[in-house]
Symmetry: C2
Subunit: 157 residues, 2 copies
């Protein structure tokens, strides 16, 4: 178990592409439980051809997280039959900036057009030098949680 401290930003422009560390990884993920103010999120993810099952406690900035590798075939079957559609489909790139590695997610499918950047930090108060392509911060906006995006009609306005 770890506690995840993440800050999340909208991405403005294409400047991040030049600093990307290699090609992106396709992620497909769905939810067995969408979570809520006091309820955990249970996520099924296919990352390339690796399957994962992840449990996240309630909260936005700092939350308990448990992740387990599972057979890719199990993840594929759960995404197809047990997760409420639509499944999130996005490509994740790792992008270096000022000594930190950011994750930039380009969404496809029902969320096409949305690009989000996340940075993981050792503590909630850790200072961060924002890259020029980081737009509005959405860490505290529940609409940008993936468990919410999975149920949205499209990118939040």
């Amino acid at each position: 178990m770890g506690t995840e401290i993440e800050r999340k930003f909208l991405v403005a422009g294409e400047g991040w592409r030049d600093a990307a560390l290699g090609p992106g990884l396709r992620l497909r993920q769905g939810y067995l439980a969408h979570g809520g103010p006091a309820a955990p999120v249970v996520r099924v993810r296919l990352a390339g051809d690796h399957g994962f099952l992840t449990i996240k406690g309630p909260g936005l900035l700092a939350r308990a997280e448990y992740e387990y590798a599972i057979p890719a075939a199990d993840a594929e079957a759960m995404l197809a039959t047990l997760c409420a559609p639509p499944v999130i489909d996005k490509t994740r790139s790792r992008v270096a900036h000022a000594g930190l590695v950011w994750e930039v997610d380009e969404f496809a499918g029902h969320l096409a057009g949305l690009v989000l950047a996340e940075v993981e930090l050792p503590g909630a108060e850790t200072p961060v030098t924002l890259p020029g392509w980081a737009g509005r911060e959405v860490t505290d906006d529940p609409r940008y949680q993936n468990s919410h995006l999975a149920r949205a009609d499209g990118p939040p306005a």
Copy 2:
């Protein structure tokens, strides 16, 4: 992934104890998702000192099931912090009868007094010779699903 075919009965009397195969195993389990007519169940279980995470598809008699071993410390922490209380606490005994092995669960805590027996079958139509201590069948009664019992005030009337 397997598909589970199980029949479930109330237990009448103590006759099963003489046919028990060794001592019972204490199970403590809680739910990250309680499931519903179209929603999966996500269960955390401590079986003795072994942890498991189990996903069950919707349904009562035959349902998709995925089970993964997880660290006992993770299961303990999730039962304490992420599962909606109360946690189910029961002792499971394996009981032989007519060539099949039954599982008899004696509940404790908020469900004290309830004793249920389950038998797993290769198919829904497999004939079963019922033991004398098998009472009313409750396979199709959702009140006796553990995910429901976890939220009940006490044993179903």
